[in-house]
Amino acid sequence: MTVSDYNECVRLHSDGLYRFLLKNTKDTEKAKDLVQETFTKLWMKADEVSFEKAKSYLFTAGYHTLIDTLRKEKREQTYAAVEKHRAMASTTRHYSDLSELLSEALNRLPDVQKSVVLLRDYEGYSYEEIEEITGLNASQVKVYIYRARVALKSFIGKMENVV
């Protein structure tokens, strides 16, 4: 990959990668850091990664960096913080629109399920591509998407009934 190819990748894929990471982290600064780190990885591998494969590489590296970061944060999270989060999550609240409701439902999903659903919906990746990005096998990808959709549907249905 040439320098101009790399710069073109920045123009083409940084927005999508940022949206994906932002939706997963819910933290703009953290998402920006992850994007920067991911593109740095691409730059370091520029000799090995072709322009055509760059997007896949970016989402693969971004996904794994994200998962590492989230796992590390969870390890550092104190018991009190977890309890506080649970208490807040269990509180009934009102949602202004479907988007907000769906975001809340998404936040309640396990990290892996959240990522595969967003890869599927945001970027339109196939099962095979998600398999390649996440390192999961095809069955796991299908099952995670299935479980995530059912959980999202249940949450939305429950909240709509409440309203």
Binding site: S14, D33, K41, A46, L102, L106
Partner: protein, 354 residues
């Protein structure tokens, strides 16, 4: 598949439950069930009418024909799976037709389908990564031009040092009232090295075989303030000096550079900008480091606590502010050269193989 009769109906039942019958076979099965009510009852029990979906479905929509019974969903899970297969594009044409029929016939299926449709996320294209310029890399031509300017600046500084050295030597000679023959420029450089070694203050410097190394020190001011990083906007950074005779230029900074005598002011690689944030500074610094890595070496950034990390950012800085400073190390692909450059920028110490 052969025609259905009382001795082979089980396989038809199983295929029907798995929605693997063709339209013609479905019609044939329906006729068979109408003709054999006892088997129709058995078929219905196989379909698990007692499962949750059947229990909650609208009583008004319960079909009264065998044909409709055949097409009725057996459980909520079955409905969910079919909706998801259709929604995700995995369903066959028959499954799509079946779901449409279920949706038309059962309000519960219709409601489930509508809810699943809402679980699809749409990317908000208004959200963009605004600091793309920090990710962009310079074209090779520009890097060469940069090196040209850097080399010119470094050469000018080297000449200045040699002139200064000669002037000092002459002044010393005059002070001792012991006239000495004039010293050539070529002979001056090794003297710098000898003075350095005699001083013994620099742990990085070791006497080596020819060609002799030139040791230059850069005085570096801390660029990172734990509380107010914006106040440290300017940093001295290392510029590699050209040496046509030998690539073994060694530049280093120890922990107390102000005590060293042979200090050269180096042209800053990164042009400091007013109100430049720490994040931007580190980003541009990393861009420089990466360009070095791209051109000559492969690079990695390592932290004492972690085995490998690639970029350091303001966030990481904040995390590690109380810990040990991260160290950025570069190693040349060809390990035959062991000559290296180490330099420190603020809390960061750099080592670079040449």
């Amino acid at each position: 598949m052969e025609n259905i009769h009382r001795h082979n109906y089980e396989s038809f039942f199983l295929d029907a439950l798995e929605h693997r019958l063709s339209r013609a076979q479905e019609a044939e099965l329906n006729k068979f069930l109408l003709a054999n009510p006892d088997l129709a009852e058995e078929f219905n029990s196989l379909r698990g009418e007692e499962l949750s979906f059947a229990a909650v479905r609208n009583e008004d929509s319960i079909p009264d024909t065998i044909d409709s019974l055949l097409l009725a969903p057996a459980s909520q899970k079955e409905v969910e799976q079919l909706i998801l297969r259709v929604q995700e594009g995995d369903a066959t044409l028959d499954e799509k037709i079946l779901l449409d029929r279920w949706s038309a016939q059962y309000p519960m299926v219709q409601k489930e389908r509508a809810l699943f449709e809402k679980t699809k996320f749409q990317a908000d294209t208004n959200i963009v990564f605004e600091t793309k310029d920090q990710l962009l890399r310079k074209e090779k031509g520009r890097i060469i031009a940069w090196y040209t300017y850097a080399a010119a600046a470094a050469a000018a500084l080297l000449v200045g040092l040699l002139l200064f050295s000669r002037t000092s030597s002459e002044a010393l000679s005059a002070g001792n009232r012991q006239p000495q023959p004039p010293t050539s420029l070529a002979a001056a450089a090794p003297k710098v090295e000898e003075q350095k070694l005699v001083s013994g203050k620099n742990p990085w410097t070791k006497k080596t075989s020819t060609p002799p190394k030139e040791v230059h020190l850069v005085e570096v001011q801390p660029i990172v303030d734990a509380e107010q990083p914006e106040q440290h906007l300017v940093a001295e950074t290392y510029v590699p000096l050209p040496n046509t005779e030998s690539p073994t230029i060694k530049t280093e900074i120890n922990s107390q550079p102000q005590e060293e005598k042979n200090i050269l002011p180096m042209a800053p690689i990164l042009q400091p900008q007013e109100k430049q944030s720490a994040t931007k500074y580190y980003s541009s610094l990393w861009a420089f480091a990466s360009s070095q890595a791209k051109e000559k070496i492969w690079g990695s950034a390592s932290y004492p606590q972690e085995k490998f990390a690639l970029a350091f950012t303001q966030r990481e800085m904040q995390k590690r502010r109380k810990g040990e400073a991260p160290v950025i190390e570069f190693e040349k692909k060809n390990q035959s050269y062991k000559e290296s450059v180490r330099f420190r920028i603020g809390k960061f110490e750099f080592k670079k193989d040449l």
